[in-house]
């Protein structure tokens, strides 16, 4: 009896160690973020100042919303290449309407980019979900379409913030509101994905569409829903970028797509679908934010930053692969 107890304790101690390792692996993005923050802080000490830290948080918010959209797509086993273009297009068309058409109540102005995001996202969702077309091709096509539409409706010009209602710029320009609203959104999305039936069904569809179909979860409807949600987040991202810039530059959204992949993947979202924790994606967003802020302090050109983002995606995929392998080898042994 005594022996058994000792054995049990040994066993549970072993499991505890394993569980801790698994916990570390699953949330590896946070130590990674802290490590990179510390390293970059040693090189550039200004990063350590509380004001600068707030700036990093603030800087991460507009991109963060787009990352949420992309993450939901990846969990659902699809990908949205059009998300960056849609951020730009929804911000631009909303800006043009607010600039050129009077009579839109300012307190309803927020709805504009979100509605356009939703419509365009549903468009993606209709073709990929109901018509069963390949998401890669569909969103590649709409990526180009939204990008072109953005330039057409802008007629080639940046919309200055002075043409837009002050209240429309508020969410993205007020540092405190910006950060808090993002945190609240993340928590809501996390609850949605983990604790509601449609949320879990996103994981189900991402895990295996055929089985989902067999068990009465309709992949067509779910993929339509996934792209619609992604579109809504693209619209919100457009709204926050507008406030952040206090204008709608013609280039808005051009540098969104790659960071969304990098952040999601480095946070442990599986490219095969069906796996990922939205809370960790915040870590991924912050990781990109701190790197971005660091590069800004050194006045690195946007072109060079794009090169950096390209490599960041590659590194993130490698990191993800490595982490999954270690995780699986532990779980298989239990």
């Amino acid at each position: 009896m005594g022996e058994l107890k000792v054995m049990k304790e040994k066993q549970s101690g072993f499991n505890l160690k394993q569980n801790m390792l698994l916990f570390m692996l699953e949330n590896a993005v946070w130590p990674l973020f802290i490590a990179i923050y510390l390293i970059l802080g040693v090189i550039q000490p200004v990063i350590f100042s509380p004001t600068f830290f707030m700036y990093i948080l603030y800087l991460s918010v507009p991109l963060g919303f787009a990352i949420l959209g992309q993450t939901i797509c990846l969990i659902g086993g699809v990908l949205d290449l059009s998300i960056g273009s849609l951020v730009g297009f929804s911000a631009m068309i909303a800006g043009v309407i607010l600039k050129d058409f009077y009579g839109i109540p300012p307190h309803l102005s927020f709805a504009l980019p979100i509605i356009f995001g939703l419509l365009c996202g549903s468009f993606n969702g209709y073709f990929t979900g109901f018509l069963r077309l390949n998401p890669f091709i569909v969103t590649l096509a709409t990526m180009m379409a939204f990008q072109g539409l953005k330039i057409i409706v802008a007629r080639g010009f940046t919309i200055p913030g002075s043409y837009l209602p002050e209240i429309y710029l508020f969410p993205g320009s007020n540092v405190t509101f910006s950060i808090i609203s993002f945190i609240v959104t993340v928590v809501l999305v996390w609850i949605f994905l983990r604790y509601t039936r449609p949320g879990i069904h996103i994981y189900v569809v991402g895990g295996n569409q055929d089985v989902a179909h067999m068990m009465g979860v309709d992949p067509k409807k779910m993929i339509f829903l996934i792209f619609s949600i992604s579109g809504v987040f693209a619209g919100i991202s457009g709204l926050y970028y507008t406030g952040f810039n206090r204008s709608v530059p013609i280039t808005l959204g051009n540098e969104v797509l790659f960071p969304t992949f990098a952040a999601a993947i480095i946070s442990g979202v599986s490219l095969r679908g069906g796996r990922g924790n939205i809370l960790n994606v915040v870590g991924g967003a912050l990781l990109l934010g701190v790197i971005e802020a660091f590069l800004v302090t050194y006045a690195v050109s946007p072109e060079a930053r794009i090169v950096g983002y390209g490599f960041m995606v590659l590194i993130a995929v490698l990191f993800n692969q490595f982490r999954d392998n270690v995780r699986d080898s532990i779980l298989r042994r239990i």
């Binding site: 604790y195 879990i200 994981y203 895990g207 295996n208 067999m214 009465g216 979860v217 069906g274 779980l331």
Partner: protein
């Protein structure tokens, strides 16, 4: 043919003249089948005989091209898995009803997750894992300790246990078990056979699909043989020994395949 008392009653589910084409392939060529309450049907046949196609039509996974389905004598349309479940038809297709990246509890309740009584759309995780643990324990499965374990780390037999547990939990009028004994140890096979018998005790009908007669013979009330999309044998088991049946199967299959 055999005037078993069961044949005098009205069937639970009747299939009449079911046809199914996959492109040019005529997968089912007018199949009739009656399933009575609490009856165990052993559905056997080679690969490509149409066993899976027929059961998928009953389960609402695919749709028939022509023919009628009656439930308790009334014509019904089974257009989706939800339709089939509403009519009390449960599926236990092996390997095709589990999602590897999700845990055991979510897999058992897949598509039918228990909802919170107070907050709409929210899942009742406590109930889900509690019932999962209970049913796995009832089946004597080792996995009952860890209902949150991801399914991809389970062995073939353990996975089958999950499928059986699901069929058991959502006890319905008709359970379709596709190759439930494949990949199982001797003890596992015994467990499945006991499970099928317990379905019968609860008056739940069961279609037990297998490649071989030997697996189904022990529990089946009736043996149905499909070959190349046609039903070529439909006999009550009680009147024949396993050897007699085997002989009949070989004879009928050869005759049918030569004429086809």
């Amino acid at each position: 043919m055999g005037h078993n008392y069961e044949y005098m009653k009205r069937p639970l589910l009747s299939l009449r003249n079911i046809h199914k084409y996959f492109g040019k392939v005529h997968a089912l060529k007018g199949v009739d089948l009656d399933i009575y309450e609490g009856e165990i049907i052993g559905l056997i046949g080679d690969n490509g005989a149409g066993k899976s196609t027929l059961t998928k039509i009953i389960a609402g996974v695919i749709r028939k091209d022509s023919g009628e389905i009656y439930l308790n004598g009334k014509p019904v349309e089974i257009k989706s898995v939800e339709d089939a479940r509403r009519l009390g038809i449960e599926v236990a297709f092996q390997e095709m009803t589990l999602i590897d990246s999700l845990d055991i509890g979510l897999n058992i309740f897949l598509g039918r997750e228990p909802l919170n009584q107070k907050i709409p759309l929210f899942l009742d995780y406590n109930k889900m894992y509690e019932e999962t643990r209970k049913i796995l324990k009832q089946l004597g499965l080792r996995t009952s300790d860890s209902p949150k374990r991801e399914v991809r780390f389970l062995s073939g037999g353990e996975k089958q246990g999950i499928v059986v547990a699901r069929a058991m939990l959502f006890q319905s009028k008709l359970v379709i078990l596709d190759e439930p004994t494949r990949n199982l140890s001797v003890a596992g096979v015994r467990m499945v056979l006991d499970f099928i018998r317990s379905l019968k005790e609860k008056n739940i009908a069961c279609i037990f699909i297998s490649h071989t007669l030997h697996h189904v013979y022990e529990v089946a009330d009736r043996i149905v043989l499909l070959s190349l999309g046609r039903k070529i044998l439909d006999v009550p088991k009680s009147q024949y020994s396993v050897e007699e049946l085997e002989e009949m199967i070989i004879e009928r299959t050869m005759k049918h395949d030569i004429s086809a």
